[in-house]
């Protein structure tokens, strides 16, 4: 792999950039792989990368029906945090956040992880109590968070109107090592690094069927022909139900469109990420200067990746109360991403009723932040048959009632 560095850029600049290699390969599929990962989003690519990197399993194909990173990896609002309440959630999101810290260096690709800090506002007494509890839980789980008062909130983010009038800010939960990263770069970085380790990333290759024989998977049918594999991982977020059906099982997942928007770029005015759960919105400013705003999900199940207006309206209205200055900004574009929601709003990382098929889905509104940890844990599960971090997220939990419900800590989509 051609190493990336300032020196390399300077060197190539002298040759007018004619000497750069492809970031990832464009291989034709082999007849058989040890592992097929369906879906080249962040989670699928990270799974393949850690299979190769951590477990030495390099005869891996990642099959993507469109272009890599084209689903929710490229449609989210790029927030990374681990201030979760329940132990299994805290474990996987903190593993993930930790992996993000030096991911640019590990992948030799600047994914621009920026620990600018994530602040969750408290705008009711109830929220204050709930986030105090989260702070206690985080401390016990070894996650660095703290409750901050109004003066500190104002200092961290001067554009917040803390005095209301409707919902005055009472304080906040501050995670200084949370932040954002460049979402596309995460997919590209993993694709490039995985490709370098021998993984085949095969784009425009749609899976049209799953071959199952005697209760165990033998391969997949694709738009580029049949491919054999004894292990298949489905990592396709919103369309997981469709793939599961191909393999003959059902998932406790429903898919809805989550809405987001960005403003035009302006000069820096907001260094941190702020989530305002009471008014149901969150905002940060990208390096380019755009205000990145996320809000609610459509109230009905659907697969359209389109923006709808009424949630945007509610979100903007709410954020205007807390950030009055946004009123004079303009929305540059809005879009929707299909999120797969489970009954407890926590993901599924699990074996399935079909021997050899693994599934990673159900990240709902919070998948981007989990990409490295999710890939790490899924790879371990595929390689070893189980994993400490992944196991609590097994499909069994719905049958056992072992829910991992974060709704108290995150009343807002994120």
């Amino acid at each position: 792999m051609q190493r990336y560095s300032a020196f390399a850029v300077a060197r190539e600049a002298l040759g007018y950039h004619q000497g750069w290699e492809r970031a990832w390969g464009a291989p034709e599929p082999r007849a058989e792989y040890d592992v097929i990962v369906i879906g080249a989003g962040g989670h699928g690519l990270a799974t393949a990368y850690y299979l190769a990197k951590n477990h030495g399993i390099t005869n891996v194909a990642v099959l993507e029906k469109g272009w890599l990173g084209g689903g929710n990896t490229g449609r989210n609002t790029t927030i990374i945090r681990s201030n979760y309440l329940q132990e299994p959630s805290a474990a996987i999101y903190e593993l993930s956040r930790g992996l993000y810290e030096d991911l640019s260096q590990k992948l030799n690709f600047n994914i621009m992880f920026s620990p600018r800090g994530v602040l969750m506002l408290c705008q009711t007494e109830h929220e204050l109590r709930a986030l105090r509890r989260t702070a206690h839980a985080n401390r016990l789980a070894g996650i660095e968070t703290e409750m901050v008062d109004v003066a500190r909130v104002k200092k961290l983010c001067p554009i917040i109107e803390t005095s209301g009038p409707r919902f005055p800010v009472l304080g906040g939960l501050w995670q200084p090592r949370g932040g954002t990263a460049r979402h596309d770069a995460v997919a590209w970085g993993y694709a490039r690094a995985a490709s370098d380790l021998g993984v085949h990333v095969i784009q425009r290759c749609e899976v049209t069927g799953i071959d199952v024989s005697g209760g165990r998977v033998t391969g997949v049918q694709t738009s580029k022909g049949p491919i054999r594999a004894r292990k298949v991982a489905m990592v396709v977020a919103g369309h997981s139900g469709v793939l599961a059906e191909m393999a003959g099982f059902r998932l406790p997942v429903e898919s809805v469109a989550l809405q987001a928007l960005v403003s035009e770029p302006i000069k820096p005015c907001m260094d941190i990420v702020v989530m305002a759960n009471t008014v149901h919105g969150y905002m940060s400013q990208s390096d380019k200067g755009e205000m990145v705003i996320g809000g609610g999900a459509d109230g009905f199940n659907n697969y359209t990746q389109r923006g709808s207006f009424h949630h945007i309206e509610e979100t903007v209205r709410a954020l205007k109360e807390t950030f009055p200055m946004i009123s004079r900004l303009k929305m540059l574009r809005q879009w929707g991403g299909i999120v797969d929601m489970t009954g407890d709003r926590s993901p599924i990382i699990s074996k399935t009723p079909v021997e050899g098929i693994f599934i990673n889905c159900g990240w709902g509104t919070g998948g981007f932040k989990a990409i490295p940890g999710s890939g790490w844990a899924t790879a371990a599960m595929i390689a070893n048959g189980g994993d400490r971090v992944a196991d609590p997220f097994s499909l069994d939990r719905f049958r056992e009632g072992r829910m991992i419900d974060e709704s108290v800590a995150a009343a807002v989509a994120h």
Binding site: S5, N110, H136, L140, P265, F309, R333, G401, M403
Partner: protein
């Protein structure tokens, strides 16, 4: 000062009304009707902005919404709005505009050092930031990123509270026509003549579109502009037509829902029209494409059509010596218009081998040098265009032969026109590539927006539909308007299209990229995306590195992601990528256009519901009394409730303690009006509530109350409240304050989607009744004198209901208690609430009655071990966890959550269950939400429980808490540890959760 105002003409300006405004602090004069861009050009200013990455000097390229360069911050103070397109802002007296993204000034910008560095070696190539800034790791946050952030961004961040008003207007239309150029006018007329209710929205100040700028089009025997004026007047006069100008189609959504963004001349700052239309005709015209040659971004390089617009609409000449560079006939109109305006047309550079159409012939006849088979190899100049280098074009598209320099201050370029298909694709409309015209055009046969009935509801007409000729576009638009109307049952008369004449056009020759001499990518820049500084070499680099999907190339290079959303760059970028990949354009695809059409004001999206109208505070009938009597407010749901009533000089804590004591010792009164009140009626009401609540409700006798619990499908408790069976047999379900709407929605969802066969009606009466709780040992003696009803324990026992009059007000009494004291909740019609409140207050004054707030309510209930939804519950707690098994029916065959509660984990003996907690130091309160661990000294302590509510109890004179602890009820008396911040550990003893009056003696009197 080469740009100037012409002595006459200018369709949109009023020379009788001069307007003075300020640009970068200096006064500038223009005329009413001028845009900022027109007035600045008229005053000789061509430099209007700096680009995003290289900070290169930029002038205006376009005359409309597609402008990428001339972005300005308009207005002052809290009205300053960044990133306004100078081509769309009409000047007004006293207006202030500032150019952006430069320091210290527009003319001398330090940021231009980026361009200087790039001219030595192109280190800022596409995606260079993905390859650099990697080491050392810490430097990204503290050095690299802050510098990048500071140099990125465009306009300044707004400050303060926006003083402007924004308005939303809801409207319905049979046919919505977007665009009032020739096609929009024709489509609207056809639909309106058929009788349809029509809304026509035009983004410009006047209907007519390109007809206003073209002098050689005749429709119906008159000049095109006159025809347009006549059509517009005719439409405006029709009662079934609403013709809006300065109003753009912002977005199309599902089922004919459209947003129109109007900037009215008078009234609110902006008005957002939210239109539900049965049929939509998109007539948004076409956008001219720039050409990609070296230094094509110099101020003075403009779109050919824009040059005509400035001449015709504002009588502004962008320069004195013009060269036209084109691949089509249409651009010759610019040469002719400039010639007619008295400017010098140095040459028309046409890449085609021959140009024999009517317009090239007319140009030749006017004495203009027409140079075919040639291209512009490079533009030269600094902050303004000085000359262009032209040369023969070889078969491979490269420059051949000698370079010739032509001095000029304006280069009018045209790469052909692309239909404005954005709105069509907002809502699922598909496109196809038209090879002959080199354009993407709507392909409804592959997919078009549909209405709720599944029928196609959106048509595209005229140039937006790929029909660039006047006659074809007119016929197409008339047909689209008629089709829209006839779809809806209106009998559309097949109108004869009026005659249309214009010069004939010969085909264009696609010209995506004109590489300059030598190794073209070396040093000179051929811009595709002006605002984001994306060059052809950047796109080629993306292709080389494997970013082959257009989505990858776009995101890697930022092509088309600027505020103009690629209106000028998309097709050129796509073609350049296709060329680099040696693939046909349609195979490389096109990116999805997303709403809005142009950036849409967030203030406008929020509308009027800002400030006090944002989630208006719901007020109980006693709200004003609370306010006047020291209420320390707390937001609860959409309401505000008094947290406590503070007296002068009293702390919050002391105030709460006083209120608690009043209830325990005498009496207190609470405004409980915010509690949800849902009336459930109908023959199946009992059956329905049996399914909804965990306990049996159908057996409840009229005149009695029962405390009920509601679980979700996962078996977790989510709301509670007292269900009252009214004497007439109806059920009145009380919910938590915050849960009223949620529970109402929950009931409706089950009724409508799962159990439609149940004959049940639910009405939310929360605001119809006021409710006052009177609690305390003196409650009965205070209330009895106010009413003829017998309030004695025998006549009205605990959990009983009575109806009658109190203080002359019709009331319903519930003998229920959330404090453990003798207590009545009194409901009355909302409008009598305040009178009742005053009457009780006066009646109780002698016995020491005091109003109490939510915090005293919480303390009182915690002393009694009563749970609070949201404190003891968090979506993971079952009734059984809370010791409420008695309220979960064992007899019922089913209720929501029953099956879930039978799952192994929910009946696991290790579950956390409700207990009371007493700190070993009685005066010290456990912090809210603190966790208990098995061994606080362990490295990763095992969590065994947590605090759910914690208070200082004035009644008991000590700190008390409720908590959930693993196997809690089996561990009575055990002392457990709560590790806190900074190594502190608090200890508490597990006790019964009922701290006070366990026998219930105080309420059963």
């Amino acid at each position: 000062m080469t740009a100037h105002r012409l002595p006459s003409g200018g369709l949109l300006i009023d020379r009788a009304r001069p307007v003075e405004f300020r640009f970068n602090g200096k006064p500038v004069k223009g005329f009413a009707g001028d845009t900022l861009a027109a007035a600045l050009l008229a005053s000789g200013r061509t430099l209007m902005g700096r680009s995003f990455k290289y900070h290169r000097p930029r002038g205006v390229v376009a005359a409309g919404v597609e402008e990428p360069n001339a972005l300005m911050c308009v207005g002052e103070g809290p009205r300053a709005t960044p990133n306004q397109r100078a081509t769309m802002v009409e000047i007004a007296p006293g207006m202030s505009a500032r150019s952006q993204n430069h320091w210290p000034s527009l003319e001398w910008d330090v940021g231009a050092v980026n361009a200087a560095i790039a001219s030595v070696a192109p280190v800022f190539s596409a995606g260079f930031y993905y390859k650099t800034f990697l080491f050392p790791r810490i430097a990204w946050k503290h050095l690299y990123e802050p510098v990048i952030r500071q140099s990125a961004g465009l306009g300044p961040a707004p400050e303060g509270v926006d003083p402007d008003e924004y308005e939303h207007l809801h409207a319905f239309a049979d046919v919505l026509v977007i665009g009032a150029g020739m096609a929009g006018l024709a489509a609207a007329r056809a639909a309106a003549e058929a009788g349809a209710r029509v809304i026509v929205a035009e983004q410009g100040p006047r209907a007519g579109g390109r007809l206003l700028s073209e002098s050689d089009i005749e429709i119906g025997g008159m000049p095109g502009a006159d025809w347009a004026a006549g059509e517009a007047a005719a439409l405006a006069a029709m009662p079934n037509v609403t013709l809006l100008t300065r109003c753009q189609g912002a977005g199309l959504y599902d089922h004919g829902y459209a947003l129109l963004d109007e900037e009215p001349k008078e009234g609110p700052s902006r008005r957002l029209w939210r239109v539900r239309a049965k049929r939509i005709v998109i007539a948004t015209g076409a956008i001219e494409r720039p050409l990609a040659f070296a230094n094509n971004d110099l101020p003075g390089v403009m779109l050919a059509g824009a040059v005509r617009d400035y001449l015709a609409l504002w009588a502004v000449a962008p320069g004195r010596e013009i060269v036209v560079f084109a691949n089509n006939d249409d651009a010759y109109r610019t040469a002719l218009a400039a010639h007619l305006a008295g400017l010098t047309v140095k040459a028309v550079i046409d890449c085609r081998a021959e140009a024999a159409g009517a317009l090239p012939e007319a140009a030749r006849a006017a004495g203009i040098a027409v140079r075919t088979g040639m291209i512009v190899a490079k533009a030269k100049g600094g902050k303004a265009l000085k000359s262009v280098l032209v040369a023969k074009r070889a078969a491979d598209g490269r420059v051949a032969g000698a370079l010739e320099e032509i001095g000029c201050d304006v280069l009018a370029m045209s790469g052909g026109w692309s239909p404005a298909v954005h709105l069509f694709s907002h809502c699922g409309g598909k496109l196809r590539w038209d090879e002959a015209q080199a354009m993407f055009r709507p392909a409804p046969e592959r997919g078009a927006p549909t209405g709720a009935d599944g029928e196609v509801n959106t048509f595209v007409a005229g140039a937006a539909n790929g029909l660039l000729s006047t006659a074809e576009g007119l016929a197409d638009a008339l047909a689209a308007g008629a089709r829209a109307a006839s779809d809806l049952g209106f009998s559309a008369v097949a109108a004869e299209a009026p005659s249309a004449t214009e010069p004939g056009m010969t085909p264009l020759q696609p010209l995506w990229f004109t590489p300059s001499v030598g190794k073209y990518a070396h040093g000179t820049k051929h811009f595709l995306d002006f605002q984001n500084d994306v060059t052809a070499a950047d796109v080629e680099l993306a292709a080389r590195e494997g970013y082959e999907s257009i989505e990858h190339a776009k995101r890697y290079t930022t092509l088309g992601m600027a505020t103009d959303q690629g209106k000028l760059s998309n097709i050129n970028g796509l073609a350049t990528l296709a060329n680099a990949l040696a693939a046909p354009i349609p195979e490389v695809g096109t990116t999805t256009f997303r709403p809005p059409w142009t950036p849409l004001s967030l203030g406008s999206i929020a509308g009027r519901d800002a400030g006090t109208l944002f989630k208006p505070v719901r007020r109980t009938p006693m709200h004003d009394w609370h306010e006047a009597n020291g209420a320390d407010w707390e937001p609860v749901g959409e309401w505000r409730r008094p947290f406590t009533y503070r007296r002068a000089g009293e702390s919050r804590e002391a105030s709460v303690a006083r209120e608690v004591r009043a209830v325990r010792e005498a009496a207190g009164m609470l405004d409980a009006s915010t509690l949800g009140k849902l009336l459930v009626t109908g023959p199946d009401a009992g059956r329905f509530l049996d399914l909804l609540y965990t306990n049996m409700m159908s057996t409840l006798k009229p005149g009695a109350c029962r405390y009920g619990l509601m679980c979700n499908e996962n078996g977790f408790l989510f709301d509670d409240g007292v269900v009252a069976r009214l004497p007439n047999g109806d059920f009145l379900c009380h919910t938590t304050t915050g849960g009223a709407e949620r529970v109402h929605g929950w009931m409706e969802e089950w009724l409508q989607t799962e159990w439609p066969e149940l004959k049940v009606h639910v009405a939310n009466l929360t605001e119809q009744f006021t409710q006052i709780a009177v609690a305390g040992p003196k409650a009965r003696e205070i209330l009895q004198p106010l009413t003829g009803m017998d309030l004695s324990a025998s006549a009205l026992p605990f959990m009983g209901i009575a109806e009658g009059e109190m203080a002359g007000i019709p009331v319903r009494l519930f003998r229920i208690s959330f404090s453990g004291e003798l207590s009545y909740e009194i409901a009355a019609p909302a409008h009598r609430g305040r009178a009742l409140w005053d009457a009780i207050r006066e009646a109780g004054a002698g016995q020491g009655i005091q109003p109490y707030g939510t915090e005293a309510l919480h303390v009182l209930r915690a002393e009694k071990g009563f749970i609070m939804i949201g404190d003891e519950t968090d979506g993971t707690v079952t009734p059984q966890d809370l010791g409420l098994s008695w309220a979960v029916s064992k007899k019922k065959a089913d209720f929501i959550g029953k099956r879930a509660q039978e799952r192994p984990f929910l009946s696991h003996p290790e579950r956390e269950r409700l207990v009371g907690l007493e700190t070993l130091e009685p005066g010290k309160r456990l912090p809210d939400g603190a966790y208990a661990v098995a061994d606080p000294a362990a490295k990763t302590p095992e969590v065994i429980g947590r605090v759910t509510s914690s208070y200082l109890s004035p009644t008991l004179g000590r700190a008390i808490a409720l908590g959930l602890v693993k196997r809690g009820p089996e561990r009575m008396g055990e002392v457990i540890s709560f590790p806190l911040e900074k190594g502190e550990v608090m200890q508490a003893r597990i006790v019964d959760p009922v701290f006070y009056d366990k026998e219930g003696a105080r309420q059963n009197v």
